[in-house]
Amino acid sequence: MMALGRAFAIVFCLIQAVSGESGNAQDGDLEDADADDHSFWCHSQLEVDGSQHLLTCAFNDSDINTANLEFQICGALLRVKCLTLNKLQDIYFIKTSEFLLIGSSNICVKLGQKNLTCKNMAINTIVKAEAPSDLKVVYRKEANDFLVTFNAPHLKKKYLKKVKHDVAYRPARGESNWTHVSLFHTRTTIPQRKLRPKAMYEIKVRSIPHNDYFKGFWSEWSPSSTFETPEPKNQGGWDPVLPSVTILSLFSVFLLVILAHVLWKKRIKPVVWPSLPDHKKTLEQLCKKPKTSLNVSFNPESFLDCQIHEVKGVEARDEVESFLPNDLPAQPEELETQGHRAAVHSANRSPETSVSPPETVRRESPLRCLARNLSTCNAPPLLSSRSPDYRDGDRNRPPVYQDLLPNSGNTNVPVPVPQPLPFQSGILIPVSQRQPISTSSVLNQEEAYVTMSSFYQNK
């Protein structure tokens, strides 16, 4: 029963549809021969007057005799089936709120009751936007640009709010091309650098629907406005601040570079990159330089003038020694012991020799001796310390090589053996201590200094 009922309902609906109740039926016949002659265009404008919309149509061929022709729109209307457009010279229009804005309408050119040509159009797809108004251009000196503002009537409308604007400007004189700027807001800026200085410009704006449902055409251009660009800054005024700051900065940088270059070695580099002291230079500063250049020779004959004594033993002594003269006070007991020992040595070696106090020692002979044979008298720096008052000119007084081992092979040339430190074996004997033992075989301090420098020279 239900299936039969459905079938009857469907058949009845079809009958109703065919009977033309929907209002979407095509009216009239198309005259192919007249279709091309009476081709036309239409566009709609929404809410031009409150809730009323405007439909405007016209023939493409303006020479057509439109005396008995009229336009009719049927379908997609709220409460009526068809509406006839009004005629104003060659333009046909109608202002109504009856547009459904949904679906397509059939717009036909009628000659009497005969349809000459028809077109299916959806009112929401042929929307022509309304032209903007109140176009203004203001120069902003602080921003170096021109602020462009205008009013868009669509902002106040109910259905079509979103439109795209096109601002066009060009120099007023000449036939330059228009420069276009697209935007969705009612204000924009034109940077001054894009414009010619001291020139008059013309500007205008138009709109087009930008919506996923309403589509259509560009509006008419707004009334043009003009604005003038200011003169260039160089001619009119001079801003001294920026160039002065720039020049001062450059000069300061240049001065800093020069100062850095001049003071680099002496002041800056030692602070930034301190270097380790050169031990040679440091030592040379401590030691006296030899007065004369020394000739090195290993010829035994050159040692004839030197007093060479065999060292038979080395005695350890606990003494605090230093290189500098008169640093430590003399210890009489030790010094006496040393002096006695030295005297013994010297007595064994050459009885005729006598130990004279260091004051009587002459300076020249040790230098001469050292000049001839550095290896003999060139004890390692750590091994000997001398009193500056020691005068080794006394050949009778044997030197004290307290760190030297006995050399049985060559008694005339004691071989100096380097010892690590002076503090243990009495290698370095304070000068002040040595003075009472001036008769001991202590190397002349002068000789030691000379020896050291010669050592480095040899190196």
Partner: protein, 140 residues
Amino acid sequence: MVLLRSLFILQVLVRMGLTYNFSNCNFTSITKIYCNIIFHDLTGDLKGAKFEQIEDCESKPACLLKIEYYTLNPIPGCPSLPDKTFARRTREALNDHCPGYPETERNDGTQEMAQEVQNICLNQTSQILRLWYSFMQSPE
């Protein structure tokens, strides 16, 4: 004539037993129509009036079913509701984008519905607007 009348009555009776399935509607197109046209009509009629929501729906087809029912059927106190602009446009949207949507004449309403009560109309309009909100937020 008798046969046609009988068929008409039969159609009405059968139609009363049928409910359209809105599952096949083009929800995208209906959404565009609602956002750009029907919504502005509803809010224009309400003019800021607010009423408590009574009806709700959980899916787009269910929402359209209720929207269609409340929009296109007169109620006591608001017989002109189906003739309002938003109602006509709702019907047109369903006609264009719901295949097979039955386009039928509806009753003008009984004499009891003839009296127009503004608040009733506004309340009904508010309920319809809420149903459209639910439609926008509901899954297909």
